[in-house]
């Protein structure tokens, strides 16, 4: 099982290395988003500190939309989706795509969080890192499932933002609370963990049906 999963993940890395699609769409967007948010919220350190976590998580949540294209939309555009489905069992395909999407979103969160630490002068705490790891896992599962669901047809692709942004709200809210100062950590950590477990399980369960036409 791990062989095909890692093969899918390595293939995604190889395609990204060759085309740099996720890199060129995500990095400039996140950098511009955080810098512009900092300018919009004003120069007061207290005000910036209060908005830092939310800014980073909003950037990550919005970045899921273009990233979802790499799950299946780009495969459909290159006409490679059928070959992939023929070679890899549904469970391994889900796990491989999830692993790739999670890596990309975790890197996106790390970039956004790093920018707010430097520009908004806040500190990175263990609970915010936990929120980043688990929250991006939940968002990655959502992105993987909805990326496949909306891959075929322009009408479906138009639905992607309308589906993934509200569905990812719990991850953004919990991740923001975990990164904020003076927050009760345990309830938000439990909520983030439960949300991630439910989303990963649900998308894994429906993934074979999503692959069928």
């Amino acid at each position: 099982m791990t062989g095909p999963v890692l093969a899918v993940f390595r293939r995604e890395l190889a395609v990204e290395r060759a085309g740099r699609e996720a890199l060129v769409t995500t990095v400039p967007f996140v950098a511009a988003f955080v810098v512009l948010a900092g300018l919009a919220f004003g120069p007061e350190p207290a005000q910036l500190g209060g908005t830092a976590a939310g800014t980073a998580w909003l950037a990550v949540l919005v970045a899921t939309v273009p990233l979802a294209r790499t799950v299946a939309g780009a495969e459909v555009a290159d006409d490679t989706w059928d070959v992939l489905r023929g070679l890899v069992p549904a469970g391994a395909l889900f796990a491989g795509k999830l692993l790739w999407t999670w890596s990309a979103l975790a890197a996106t969160w790390l970039l956004a969080e790093g920018l707010v630490v430097v520009l908004f002068e806040v500190q990175l705490t263990p609970q915010s890192i936990y929120g980043g790891v688990v929250g991006t896992l939940a968002l990655a599962a959502l992105t993987t499932g909805l990326g496949v669901l909306t891959a075929s047809g322009p009408r479906r692709r138009g639905l992607l933002a309308a589906l993934v942004l509200p569905a990812g709200l719990p991850a953004m809210l919990a991740g923001t609370e975990l990164a904020a100062e003076q927050t009760a950590v345990l309830p938000w950590a439990v909520l983030t963990t439960l949300y991630a477990a439910v989303v990963v399980t649900a998308v894994w369960a429906v993934f074979p049906a999503l692959l069928e036409e």
Binding site: R11, E21, D78, L87
Partner: protein
């Protein structure tokens, strides 16, 4: 024992079967050409044979991996031919088979080129190399002859014979069957609601 066995298979679109119940057995190392007018169900048959569609009625059994490749597709356009073939082979757990597949399809001179920069004929050869590297029991090729000139068509026949020699059963749908029929083992003609096997 056939690689693919379809027994009383139909597939319905909007409640109407595309063809009458179909029985078909493909043996290893055979080439079967599928023809028929637009809308006769060629693509549906190939996708069903490859396991991408479930039959509405009847049974499909396939001994091994089945792949469906449309035209010269199946490779990520951003990758080089060498990397794309190796990536697909790795998905099938056969990364070591990639160089031999490139050699079989005489693709070494193009190996460093990006897939997106290849001509239509070169893309078909690259797609076939990637498919061969995966070692499929059944390879369903949908319109591999589209967009090929005469010279490329002649080259495709030689390529398909080379692929067939590896033991892979080939099911090829085309509107230009003439170059393929002399070397084909069977010719399946799909018409409106009926199937004829020559």
């Amino acid at each position: 024992m056939g690689v693919l066995r379809l027994t009383g298979v139909t597939r319905a679109h909007a409640g109407r079967p595309v063809w009458a119940p179909l029985d078909l057995t493909l043996a290893a190392g055979t080439l079967t050409v599928v023809t028929g007018p637009n809308g006769s169900g060629k693509t549906t048959l190939l996708r069903l044979a490859a396991g991408l569609l479930r039959p509405t009625t009847g049974e499909r059994t396939c001994a091994g991996t089945a792949l469906y490749v449309r035209g010269g597709a199946g490779l990520r356009s951003a990758q080089t031919v060498r990397d794309a073939v190796a990536s697909n082979a790795a998905l099938a757990g056969r990364r070591d088979a990639a160089p031999a597949a490139l050699g079989l399809l005489r693709l070494e001179p193009l190996a460093a080129r990006r897939v997106g920069t290849l001509s239509a004929g070169e893309k078909v050869r690259a797609a076939l190399a990637a498919a061969v590297a995966c070692g499929p029991a059944l390879l369903c090729l949908d319109e591999p002859t589209a967009a090929l000139d005469e010279a490329a068509l002649d080259g495709l026949v030689a390529v398909l014979e080379a692929v067939r020699s590896t033991g892979t059963a080939l099911l090829v749908a085309t509107h230009q069957p003439e170059p393929l029929l002399p070397v084909a083992d069977a010719h399946l003609v799909l018409g409106t609601g009926r199937v004829r096997l020559r």
